[in-house]
Amino acid sequence: MPHTSEVMLHVNGTPHRLTLDNRTTVLDALREHLRLTGPKKGCDHGQCGACTVLLDGRRANSCLSLAVAHSGARITTVEGLPRGTDGLHPLQQAFLDRDGFQCGYCTPGQICSALGVIAEAAGGHPSHVTAADGPPPGEPVPLTADEIRERMSGNICRCAAYPHIVEAIEDVAGAAVTS
């Protein structure tokens, strides 16, 4: 049996057929084979979140996802976020407005993760800080600052831009709720 596989990845709307060593992670496929360097390699062990992308619409650590195991998947990286008329996704704009980074290394992962957080909360997924007497199962969970901090805990920022990251996400999550 071969140690390589034909892998089909639909990345940011474009299908790519790649022949990859089975050991290749989604992160390495994106960075090394498709030259999408938005997703970053921080720890390569699931501990930092810098590699976060949307895999079939849900946020995941691409460093622990084998490309061959995700053949057929739809993947969204920071490069493929839907853009407004000014060329930026609202989360990108909010990170700029709120100064949500210093070096920026963690930022693509933070933004993809935040996109996942907003969808999960809207879909009624609870978190560790969701109160027992909060929204009933299935109902959207309001994204308070506490909720954002807990749900974003899988994204480490070595520059500790956390307060501004939370503000940026609050801006967009609040707008999503009121619109």
Binding site: M1, R23, T25, S65, V117, H125, P126, P137
Partner: protein
């Protein structure tokens, strides 16, 4: 990483058959533990049978009021499941106390149960470790063991099992459903993980080639007050130093039934049967809870640097029991479910 071949299984029986064809094959669930350990050289499979897409991705209510959880249900979906949240809240809470949002989206029920210890020597292939290389020794016993076991450890291994989910399942009295080359069998969760004894290389009683197909929650625990509390080095995204899962049935101030399990203390979720026996039929008071939990933890044999876990576990359990017995007394606290962590 050792190079490997790959196949995707489409049904459980085929997955078992595919694994049987390769001596060094492993099942691949979400990969969040296996791929990590392959990168570290701790796991060196020559073949992966991908089971993540098996049709075992449903949470179903059984006729008797229990719940059947498929092995490939993702941790995040299980934590959000309405039946789990309303009738088995301890399970939802335990899942949400573990890992990160990203990891829970990938991690499966089966993979969570079978994740390996976070002992630093186990993860470092330049070091001896009886679990990774039987007979090579256990440097943790004299070395970095602050996070490791205080109960049920042996001369050969002092590792802990890292799963939060499994602690809740132990308290709920869940069963693990298995399919192997010789057919199906069911093992109670409390008998699924092992104590290390002189064979720490075996985490569980899973036989070679066996697939976890699901977990069954009994109707007897459905709807009872239950909760999970975890103490860790930071408020989120860290493994348990100690944790407690409780299912409690109190009527008129008397304990009709109680199930208590500890995490972070042993090589397996530690079901506190001594404390449970002491409490059943007795008064549901903080004093009685304290006495019973202390009787259980009298068996603890802390190592040089982890004695703090014993009072930590005691306090987690007593506080959780007290709050479940009398939710009104602690209603004011309920705004911050993390209050016990700090």
């Amino acid at each position: 990483m050792r190079s490997f071949t790959y196949e995707r299984a489409t049904d459980p029986a085929q997955a078992v058959a595919l694994l049987g064809h390769h001596p060094s094959a492993r099942f691949l669930g979400g990969g969040t533990n296996l791929v990590d350990l392959m990168k570290l050289g701790v796991e060196t499979p020559g073949h992966l049978v991908d089971i993540a897409r098996l049709p075992l991705d449903r949470v179903e209510e059984s006729a008797d009021g229990g719940l059947l959880i498929g092995a490939t249900v993702r941790n995040s979906d299980l934590a959000a499941d309405p039946a789990v949240r309303t009738r088995f809240p301890v399970l939802s809470q335990a899942l949400l106390a573990g890992a990160s949002g990203q990891l829970r989206n990938s991690a499966t029920t089966g993979g969570n149960l079978l994740q390996r210890t976070r002992c630093p020597y186990f993860q470092d292939i330049t070091k001896p470790c009886n679990k990774r290389r039987p007979g090579s020794g256990c440097p943790a016993r004299e070395g970095a063991h602050r996070d490791l076991a205080v109960l049920g450890h042996s001369e050969s291994c002092v590792a802990t099992h890292p799963s939060d989910m499994a602690v809740a399942l132990a308290a709920l009295g869940a069963d693990v459903l298995l399919l192997g080359p010789d057919g199906e069998r069911t093992v109670p969760l409390t008998g699924f993980h092992r104590l290390p004894g002189d064979a720490p290389e075996k985490d569980t009683v899973l036989l070679p080639g066996e697939l976890v197909t699901g977990v069954r929650l009994p109707a007897s625990a459905a709807g009872l007050p239950s909760a999970y509390r975890k103490a860790r080095d930071r408020a989120s995204y860290a493994f348990a130093l100690a944790s407690a899962a409780v299912v409690l049935d109190v009527r008129d101030g008397v304990v009709r039934d109680v199930r208590l399990a500890f995490g972070g203390l042993a090589h397996k979720p530690w079901r506190a049967t001594t404390a449970e026996a002491a409490l059943r039929g007795g008064p549901a008071t903080a004093a009685a809870f304290g006495h019973a939990v202390e009787t259980e933890l009298a068996a603890a044999r802390p190592l040089r640097d982890n004695g703090f876990k014993v009072p930590m576990a005691r306090n987690l359990a007593v506080r959780l029991l007290t709050e479940l017995a009398d939710p009104d007394a602690s209603a004011l606290d309920h705004t911050d479910p993390r209050r016990g962590d700090r």
